[in-house]
């Protein structure tokens, strides 16, 4: 129950972040929103793991945190130099 309420709070936070991600006037707002959406995904995966009583989902959540920044790095490199290679 506790984990369920926490997950629901995370979902509400994700909706608020998504509003900024879609509405955001500049592309940087969107990027920041998507980045924090990735963080919420990590937390939500950990919570779902505890809700299903499979705590080894925690490892998967850690790997998600590692994947999360690839898109951001590519985006920032594109904005800085105008190309990726």
């Amino acid at each position: 129950m506790m984990f369920g309420l926490a997950a629901l709070a995370i979902v509400v936070a994700a909706i608020m972040v998504l509003y900024r991600g879609i509405k955001g006037p500049r592309v940087y707002d969107r990027l920041l929103a998507i980045n924090s959406m990735g963080t919420k995904t990590v937390i939500l995966i950990a919570l779902i793991g505890y809700m299903y009583e499979r705590p080894h989902f925690l490892d998967i959540a850690l790997v998600y945190a590692l994947i999360n920044f690839i898109g951001t790095i590519a985006f920032l490199k594109y904005r800085e130099t105008g190309r990726l290679d």
Partner: protein
């Protein structure tokens, strides 16, 4: 509680995809598509498909974003937007076209829904797909190929040639991409 979260996330999925399609700035659209992939990964996770969720997050949110940004850096960032006069002239034609497309999409949706009516219930253990060859894999795979894990036995032995073909396709694609994208000396 998980069901409520899943329903909310499916709704967010629709919002993300519609927003990604409607945006004029292709870079923003790419960023929103990354969010779409993360949401989709959560839904796979809820369905207990951990490996699919992993693939969705790494390919959808990671590599696809990088590839689309690479494509944008070689082409242009904005979508073609017609001028005011042109827009006014073609408004009626566009409305007609959108109406026709809406009807076609609605018909396809109806046909697909009709097609799912004969299918067994979601997660039904007696569904034919779960008894076609799965029983044999579960009962006999250990004595036939001496591998502890069914999934490994299926992928590496029963469907070995299939896996070999897939791997060679991916390897060829990787080599071709490296040859196309390498930086020229000039």
């Amino acid at each position: 509680m998980v069901d409520i979260i899943e329903i909310i996330y499916l709704f967010i999925l629709i919002v993300c995809s519609v927003a990604a399609v409607r945006m004029k700035d292709l870079l923003s659209s790419t960023v929103v598509l990354g969010a779409y992939s993360l949401v989709m990964a959560i839904i796979w996770m809820d369905l207990n498909a951990v490996d699919v969720a992993f693939t969705e997050a790494s390919v959808g949110a990671g590599i696809t974003t990088v590839l689309i940004i690479a494509a944008l850096s070689r082409t242009t960032r904005g979508e073609y937007v017609p001028g005011i006069e042109e827009r006014y002239k073609t408004r009626k034609a566009r409305r007609l076209k959108n109406g026709a497309l809406f009807i076609v999409t609605l018909c396809t949706f109806g046909v697909l829904v009709y097609g799912t009516m004969d299918m067994p219930n979601f997660g039904d253990p007696d569904a034919p797909a779960r008894h076609h060859v799965a029983d044999r894999y579960i009962e006999k795979s250990h004595e036939e190929v001496y591998v502890e894990n069914f999934v490994t036995a299926i992928l590496a032995s029963y469907r070995g040639y299939d896996t070999l073909g897939e791997t060679s396709v991916i390897f060829t694609a990787g080599v071709a991409l490296m040859m196309l994208l390498r930086r020229s000396k000039s």
